[in-house]
């Protein structure tokens, strides 16, 4: 007879929109051990590269995940463009930044809602998602899609944003930004929220780094690491600084994302305003060969797209290392010793994207 409660947390669990499983071993409600089990959404899509030509693989790449969709397609395209030495037109570079940052705002607002849900603050969830719909309106107006943009392709982007659409988008975003201040204020200051997040899921900067954590999980522990600093796309030409917090707890992670909202608003504004005129794609011919690693900053952190071409229309190897995959060891490290109530909060604090993780 066991002496501890074992809770099968998932794969179906309302607090997790996506299936993962944790064996939670509890004493009272203290988590003594938390061992993850993944694979519930493992499709094996990397192997599709053998069946689909490199140009078609963009569609697969942007369906690695419906939330991080755009940046996956951008990273894939950038990797193939790197292999094929394709020069992407500047306007396309700026558009990629604008859409990448829109997808970040969309993802962060979505996450803030789910995070609120993880500690039972339902109305905060609703308001976060209410605001997110505003952003989706902008996305829909500029790409035609809501969650899957379908706007990136090898050599550039599929569609342009005209001046009028851009102006309206900026107007909507300005209103949205003001409204966001209200909800991020609650995340920052509300006493019940602080009680559930401050000091919960502590991760030191040293541990975060050595466990390979990325993105807001790493930056909330005081490490300034942001793949956008590499200057890919048009990031090098825009004015921004990585957001860093030092507390290393769930609250700090929420604050990194809350502050990144405003950073993204600024980047979208800069990109749409500074965008030079010109074509939005370069014609691509030939087949990729060689290998290349591309890193971009997803809302959840650094994503790695590795492509290896062998001179055919099919890639020899396509490999994606997603931010959540990198954050899993840090998550396992964080869970032990906290309470059952903290489990959803800590799990959500890395903003897990299982679809990405398992591909």
């Amino acid at each position: 007879m066991g002496t501890r409660t074992v809770v099968p947390f998932g794969p179906q669990h309302p607090v997790l929109p996506e299936p993962i499983h944790l064996d939670l071993v509890l004493e009272d409600e203290k988590v003594v051990e938390a061992i993850p089990s993944i694979g519930f959404v493992h499709r094996g899509l990397e192997k599709l590269a053998e069946k689909k030509e490199f140009g078609e693989m963009v569609y697969v790449a942007e369906r690695i995940c419906g939330i991080c969709s755009f940046i996956h397609s951008a990273a894939y395209c950038q990797a193939v463009e790197g292999l094929m030495k394709v020069e992407v037109p500047p306007r396309a570079q700026y558009l990629r930044v604008a859409w990448a940052e829109m997808s970040r705002v969309h993802s962060h607002l979505l996450w803030l809602g789910l995070f609120a849900d993880s500690f039972g603050f339902e109305s905060l969830f609703m308001h976060s998602w209410r605001l997110r719909e505003r952003l989706l309106d902008v996305v829909e107006a500029t790409t035609g899609g809501r969650v899957i943009f379908g706007s990136c392709k090898v050599g550039g982007v599929r569609r342009d944003v005209d001046a009028e659409t851009g102006r309206r988008a900026l107007q909507t975003l300005a209103v949205l930004e003001a409204e966001c201040r209200e909800i991020t204020g609650v995340f920052e200051k509300d006493s019940t929220v602080r009680r559930r997040t401050v000091g919960v899921g502590l991760l030191s900067g040293k541990d975060a780094w050595s466990l390979g954590a990325v993105g807001p999980t790493l930056r909330a522990s005081g490490v300034s690491s942001d793949s956008r600093s590499l200057g890919g796309s048009a990031y090098g030409a825009l004015d921004w600084q990585p957001v860093v917090e030092t507390a290393g707890d769930c609250h700090a992670r929420a604050m990194v994302r809350a502050r990144e909202l405003y950073q993204s608003f600024s980047l979208i504004r800069q990109a749409l305003e500074k965008m030079p005129a010109g074509p939005v794609e370069t014609r691509v011919s030939g087949s990729p060969s060689g290998e290349c690693i591309v890193r971009l900053e997803q809302p959840r952190g650094e994503v790695i797209h590795y492509v290896k071409g062998n001179g055919t229309r099919h890639l020899e190897r396509y490999r994606v290392r997603t931010p959540t995959f990198a954050n899993v060891p840090a998550l396992v490290h964080m869970l032990a010793g906290y309470q059952l109530v903290d489990v959803p909060v800590i799990v959500l604090s890395i903003d897990p994207c299982i679809s990405c993780t398992e591909r």
Binding site: V41, H42, G44, K51, R63, G66, H127, R132, S355
Partner: protein, 152 residues
């Protein structure tokens, strides 16, 4: 209209979807779409649910999970498959770990196409499922699982 049309409680499960349809399912609950207007509640618990909204193609590992969840829902119940992957495996149908559409694992009543399916389509699918529920409630016990309908 019977009581089942007035109080459809849903369970959402992601069977190896890319998240696209899942977040649209969640979006249905939130202020813009607010399906609670129709009494729809996301229960998160198969034992409380009437309608299973399932996204994504079933894969090797979640096949037993999908079956368990379906079995744990008390009758009468309906299944709505949402999105291209849930219908046929979609873009992933050639993947080695994917078992094609959801109807390869459990009976599906309503199919909602789209990649990702839009919230309006999902709501329409649930509305069609209400009719299915009422039919099943009227049918003698033990019969009436399965059946097909396609949402616009």
């Amino acid at each position: 209209m019977g009581v089942f049309s007035k109080s459809p409680w849903i369970l959402h499960y992601d069977a190896s979807s890319c998240n696209g349809c899942d977040i649209e399912v969640l979006a249905c609950l939130t202020p813009l779409y607010d399906v609670e207007r129709f009494g729809i509640v996301n229960t998160g618990n198969p034992k409380h649910a009437d309608i299973l909204l399932i996204t994504g193609a079933v894969n090797e590992q979640n096949l037993p999970v999908v079956r368990t969840l379906y079995d744990q829902m008390p009758s009468p119940k309906a299944v709505v498959a949402i999105g291209a992957c849930a219908l046929s495996g979609g873009i992933f149908q050639d993947c080695y770990n994917v078992h094609r559409g959801v109807d390869s694992a459990i009976p599906v009543d309503v199919y909602v196409p789209g990649c990702a399916a839009r919230p309006e389509a999902i709501i329409d699918g649930v509305v069609q499922a209400l009719g299915v529920l009422e039919e099943k409630a009227a049918a003698p016990a033990g019969r009436g699982e399965g059946g097909k309908a396609v949402a616009a």
